[in-house]
Amino acid sequence: MIDQLILGGINGIVWGLILALITLGLSLILTMDVPNVAHGELYMIGAVIGFFAIDKLGFFWPGLGVAIVVVFFLGVAIERGILRPIEDDPIRILIATFGLIFVFQHVALIVFGGAPRRIEPPITESFHALSFDYPIYRIVVGIIAVIILIGLYFMLYRTKFGLWIRASTQDRDMAMAMGIPVNRVFMWTFGLGAALGAIGGVLASPILAIEYSMGLEMTVLAFIVVIVGGIGSLKGTLIGAIIIGELEGIGSVLLNPTEARMISLLVLAVVLLVRPKGLFKR
């Protein structure tokens, strides 16, 4: 039982780190006042593109690269083509991106089919600890996620582009007056957020299975994590993601997965109601 709980705990951390990648993508997008409810679909599309790219190329890591690039430009195109004309009204953006959900889901259904499929992990070895074998791939995924998170931190707080992002999201008009190309910053930021979703999708697909309908649940999870952690807060999002990863990881040892998911959602709903500005914002 204890072993099982530890296993659940480790799984929870890995899942939480993947979740953190995806939700940070959403968090970046949300700081621009763009409630993109199709973010989970970008995660799904990323996984699907990754699946085909890996199938064609024969290697995992280049396939991941292809998925990132394609989804990045897909995100840029969405921002440019669909969201730009309605960017001042979050509710209209929410509805437009809701429309995107249908488009993405059913395009994926046509090209990918309805049955869930799995990508072969690039590392199949596992190591033995306590009384279970743990796949090394998951540990590697966790490490990659940590590296990307650190890179993101440096990009946001140590580079000029990061400064531009923070300035544009804090005060649009002022940033524009300072000569920052706000529209272009928003466009690239949206692409970046979408790419983060795609990375999460491809990394998770050897662990979970790819399904055309998996995006919506991810959207819900990501939105909750972002809001609980506080929009735009890197630390808050990371902690929120780990909490939900643990709730599900340990919860699914004690309950069935559906009940674990229900409980973690309800816990987060309560947090959202008590502290609408997020756990870590004063």
């Binding site: 409630p35 509805i95 249908f102 229900m262």
Partner: protein
């Protein structure tokens, strides 16, 4: 608008009479048309009548109060499930099951609204999404609610009056029952929206802070508006279960169902009385035509939503109204 108050009143009265006149004509046409319709169109009209009740309730919440809820499938699904449970376990009939469904949905809307109304705008939309996902997972997990993924089928017991029986598994009867409930629901809806209460809802939509400063209890009024929307959604779900599908399942709780009234209302014109009904009619017809030729028709619906929201946020009624206003200004 005329500058003279008398003239303005007369205009309002004229518009009111015109409105009821058009409504009566439409209802009579639908009633008379029934024998001439084939199986396919009979089902379609029944569906439009039942679904537009769903959209009306949503319009009270979104169009008039200005709060976007993506959780209306909770009440739609609960309405259908309550009907199934009442008929199966309490041996209830048509009217009792509908009554129970509406009561359950009003209660559920009060409970969920009590929490959800604490946040507004984007957060409100998200918290309703969370609740609807939790409800969907519950319905999937606990089979007694709606039979899980497979669903529950049931037979609605027929009415017996002195030797004549009225069956609910008969298209013609279903058609007229749907029409009767549609008329009742529409009159209630129109009354709610045009009453002083409806004006308060609009004032909250336009400026929440100002409405609260004037002295309205904004949270409580929003809660009542959410309850109204929940009740209409429950009625619609109950009617659909009783008259059209005779079936309930966990899939009625999905977010796609929540999205339907959003689409219908937006396309018809949110915040207008006739908008949700027109939107529902157009979309139900559109979906039925497209889905017969193209299996993944939801792609078109997605594109349609995006186009409508970018091109005309006020929907079809918005376009009609602006044309009407232009005409009036000319004369």
């Amino acid at each position: 608008m005329g500058s003279n108050p008398m003239e303005r009143k007369l205009f309002a009265l004229n518009k009111e009479i015109l409105y009821y006149f058009i409504f009566t004509v439409v209802v009579i046409v639908i009633a008379i048309l029934q024998p001439f319709l084939g199986y396919f169109y009979k089902v379609l009209v029944t569906q439009i009548l039942v679904f537009s009740i769903f959209a009306m309730g949503f319009n009270v919440l979104f169009g008039y109060t200005g709060e976007l809820s993506f959780g209306q499938s909770i009440f739609y699904g609960l309405g259908a499930s309550t009907v199934a449970l009442t008929i199966q376990h309490l041996s209830g009939g048509f009217l009792t099951s509908i009554l129970f469904a509406v009561i359950v949905c009003l209660g559920a809307a009060w409970l969920i609204g009590f929490f959800a109304i604490r946040v507004t705008g984007l957060y409100f939309a998200i918290i309703t999404i969370i609740f609807s996902v939790v409800m969907y997972l519950a319905a999937l997990n606990w089979k007694w609610i709606a039979g899980g993924d497979d669903g529950l089928t049931f037979r609605v017991p027929a009415w017996k009056f002195f030797g004549t029986t009225i069956s609910f598994h008969n298209l013609t009867n279903d058609y007229y029952f749907a029409l009767i409930f549609f008329v009742i629901a529409f009159l209630i809806y129109k009354r709610i929206v045009e009453s002083p209460y409806g004006k308060v809802l609009q004032s909250i939509r336009e400026n929440e802070l100002r409405a609260s400063v004037i002295g309205y209890n904004v949270k409580r009024i929003k809660l009542t508006s959410f309850i109204v929307a929940g009740g209409f959604a429950g009625l619609s779900g109950a009617l659909n279960a009783n008259l059209i599908s005779h079936y309930t399942s966990a899939n009625l709780f999905t977010i796609a169902v929540s999205g339907e009234p959003v689409i219908w209302t937006l396309i018809g014109g949110s915040g207008t009385i006739a908008g949700p009904i027109i939107g529902t009619a157009i979309m139900v017809l559109f979906i039925n035509y497209v889905s017969t030729t193209f299996r993944n028709y939801l792609i078109f619906i997605g594109i349609l939503i995006i186009v409508v929201i970018i091109a005309t946020p006020k929907g079809i009624m918005g376009i009609l109204n602006s044309v009407y206003e232009k005409r009036r200004r000319k004369t």
